[in-house]
Amino acid sequence: MARILVVDDDPAIRQLLIDVLEMEGYEVGIAADGLSAVQAVKASRPDFVVLDVMMPGLDGFGVLSSIRAQPGEPVPVLMRTAAAEADADARAWASGVDYYLPKPFDADAVLELIDGVLNDQAGANDR
């Protein structure tokens, strides 16, 4: 089953995403800050990353540029933010996210998007 890395400094949101994603059968890894996220992507090459923008220290944009600089297949990244920063979405797209959810946090929307992307990826040829 696909492995998903959830990156968020808010424990409540992390737990919500873990619950929803594990219920669907995904294997979920977590990172509570930007630096651990960069290390986790490098070490375990997840199939999908759910990345919060606003984090203390290295924020979502910093994480994204670090993981985009890593060699190998670009990992699909969904960036999400609850903040109503005026230019956050333009900045997110310009920095190379694959998917972006600017709305208030909605675990079901995250799940629906991941299902759509990963189920369309699943080839059954000798995997």
Binding site: A92, L101, A122, G123, D126
Partner: protein, 393 residues
Amino acid sequence: MSRPSILFVDDEPSILDGLRRSLRGRRGEWEMAFAAGGVEALARLAQSPCDVVVSDMRMPGMDGAELLTHVCERHPEVGRVVLSGHIDPDATIRVSIAGHRFLTKPSTVEDLVAVIEQMLVRTSAGHAGAARHIAGAVRAIPALPAHTEHIEALLGPDVDLSLAARTAMRDVGLTAKLLQLSNSRFFGSRPRNSSIESIVHSMGLPMVQAVVGAAHTLQPATGLSPAAEEHLEAVWRHAMATATLVHRIASPANRPHAQAAALLQDVGALVCLAAVAGGRVDLTARTRDDVPFADVGVELLHLWGLHPPIITAVAQRDTPQSPDASGLGVAASVRTAHLLIRRAESAGPGADIHDEELSGLLSHPQLRAQALDWSAAADEALRDAGERPGFHR
């Protein structure tokens, strides 16, 4: 409607017994038959054709590649699956041309069932059987006559991996073949991603050259009418320009699939006009024996087991897209590039260019963020494709 029927071929009775046992749970859904060799398998097929053949490679007398070649010629609509342990390099190359799908032994029952179930699906809504019949007959897709020298150059001594990758990325048939083979460990280590460059690197030059050589020997594009050749050159230029442009449209993780889909968007035309002999072709309606080229192309990519996002994007190229704000994904990226190139080809906005849909797509935040002059980018991509009738930079 009768149940789908699957024929398993292996010279080792213990393997057939194992398959029989582990697939017992499928007896309700599938009609299963077992043959101890190629001759017996062909005799069975002559009596009652099946939907999918699953064959071992190494068998005394007729081996798997030879059997599947006969199956292709006599019963093109039958799905051809190879299930085999280690095989020698020569056989690997022969089977890369003869088979549709490749599973290594041991494979899990789930993998085998999944592949068979996929091959039972026919993608064309209106022409299921006819599209399968044409697409199933394809073992390799020829290069266009104007491009064969580049393919032949790949077989020479002065080739490196990056030239091989650049050539492959500009050839529809080779791109499709490499994507087909990249899913199986038969043909080298698993590539790091689905970009052609990564596939070529993980396969290694000798394997790529051998596959190119085998495909080219089998299937040079000869006997094309001037009209057909002109049509194919035009769709190739369109595909190349779309692939160049979609690189700027698709997001990083979606880029390899989007570029592959852009290049393969008209693979059906190449199949119908050049890869499978015969048939009554209508270049205006873009049909062969009344089956749309597009249906044949999608069926081929499905049979060959390309990644679903690629197939979906090719299948939806002519379907209006309205992606939500969360991202364009692969299909809408390819559609956007396709419409932009088409507008550039017709030199300006026009009635048939879906202007409204295109302006909606271009105002998507993903594309707005780039603040690019998309018309100029499309002109440039088209110029690049047109200026290089061959495909060396």
